[in-house]
């Protein structure tokens, strides 16, 4: 069994990863899609529902 200190560290790392995923997932997809798309769309078309 890992020690209490290691357990605490793992908890901290998982919590940090969860927060990063929560706030970073949508921006990550938009960044990947925006940079890899052919042709590259304009930013206003990406965000606005009407443009």
């Amino acid at each position: 069994m890992p020690s209490e200190e290691t357990k605490e560290r793992i908890t901290k790392v998982v919590e940090l990863g969860r927060t990063a995923l929560h706030y970073g997932w949508i921006p990550l997809i938009i960044y990947i899609g925006y940079t890899r798309s052919t042709p590259q769309p304009t930013l206003i078309k990406l965000i606005s529902p009407l443009a």
């Binding site: 995923l21 890899r36 769309p41």
Partner: protein, 351 residues
């Protein structure tokens, strides 16, 4: 001992005409040659049976679920605006608005999807900041790792599911872990194996191992069977769960445009005895899809999806609950716009 001293090609002097063994590579360890011979003869015999892949356990009732409208019905008003920004790789964003529902609060949802030949990324976020994430990574044609997560700022609403899926020649293997916690190995673990026995019949098992705390663990196994007709026009499935739940489904394609499906769910637990039967039909017309459904709790529902143009669809749904004297109505629009020209989308130019 005689079998070990015999030359490794001995296993292939079988005169059976149905096998055409490929020239065998010399084994690195001569001692295990009989074992590898047995294994390769077994796998050749298995290949010669030419059994189809049974499909995954998750998709056991896929045909029934797409014919029934349980997964498609909505009430209130909704609008989906989808914008395709690229075709290859696929990249699209969706804005969804919903309001006036009897059961759910008005909501706004933003979604983004990116997919190329082996990666699929999907994410959506609602106005309260809850994020749904999904990622599929294909390593080879039939070996896929999947990740699915629900992230919320509320405590206790987070979920992560890691999954690996392997589709063999005549079997499917799948392993899932829901909310695994590395330090004390708690979580829910699901493993399933599905094997074709004949060209029409496939059977499988699915085991669920629940370990909510390190002191508590529970294993339960359910059994599945699936019969597919030779021309794939009808499919019957059955699933038995240990708690006394039996689910049987039947799906049939009546013609190119009409599919019908029936679903029977029996609960025979000591505390509760219940049964629900559902009957549904789906019509695929040229510009419209119509689903109708009737179930034994007295509900009649229908959903019409009418396309007026390739980019504009109008949805009407309705449900009447005769026993509770209640009704639900929903209207929706789906608008797809694209910043691409028809040539960029890979379509032939319109005359």
């Amino acid at each position: 001992m005689a079998s070990i001293s015999s030359p490794p090609t001995d296993g292939f002097t079988d005169p059976s005409p149905s096998f055409s063994p490929s020239p065998q590579k010399p084994s690195l360890i001569p001692g295990i040659a009989p074992l590898t011979n047995v294994f390769s003869r077994f796998s050749q015999w298995r290949k010669s049976l030419d059994l189809p892949n049974p499909g995954s356990v998750e998709n056991l009732q896929k045909e029934v679920k797409t014919t029934h409208l349980t997964n498609f019905i909505f009430d209130g008003a909704r609008a989906d605006l989808t914008k395709s920004l690229s075709m290859n790789p696929a990249f699209q964003v969706t804005h969804s608005f919903a309001l006036g529902s009897q059961t759910a609060a008005p909501s706004y949802n933003f979604g983004a999807v990116f997919a190329n030949s082996n990666v699929f990324l999907q994410g959506s976020v609602d106005h309260e900041g809850n994020v749904n994430a999904r990622m599929n990574q294909g390593w080879t044609e039939n070996c896929i790792t999947k990740m699915q997560a629900q992230l919320s700022s509320q405590v206790g609403h987070n979920m992560i599911q890691l999954e690996h899926d392997y589709q063999g020649q005549d079997y499917s293997l799948n392993a899932k872990a829901v909310n695994p916690w590395p330090t004390d190995l708690t979580g829910i673990f699901i493993g399933s194996y599905f094997q074709s026995l004949t060209k029409n019949l496939a059977v499988g098992v699915e085991s669920l191992y629940q370990r909510p705390t390190p002191e508590m663990a529970e294993l339960s196994t359910s059994y599945l069977a699936k019969i597919t007709s030779t021309d794939k026009n009808w499919i019957a499935t059955a699933q038995v769960q240990p708690a006394g739940i039996v689910q049987a489904t039947y799906w049939q394609k009546l013609s190119e445009k009409v599919e019908v499906a029936a679903d029977l769910q029996l609960i025979a637990a000591p505390a509760r005895r219940d049964a629900i039967a559902t009957l549904g039909a789906k019509y695929d017309l040229r510009m419209a899809t119509f689903r109708a459904q009737l179930d034994s709790t007295g509900k009649i529902s229908a959903l019409l999806e009418q396309r007026f143009a390739p980019t504009f669809a109008f949805l009407v749904s309705g449900e009447i609950d005769h026993l509770k004297n209640a009704a639900k109505v929903g209207v929706g629009v789906m608008i797809e716009s694209s910043s691409l020209t028809p040539e960029e989308m890979g379509m032939p130019p319109q005359p």
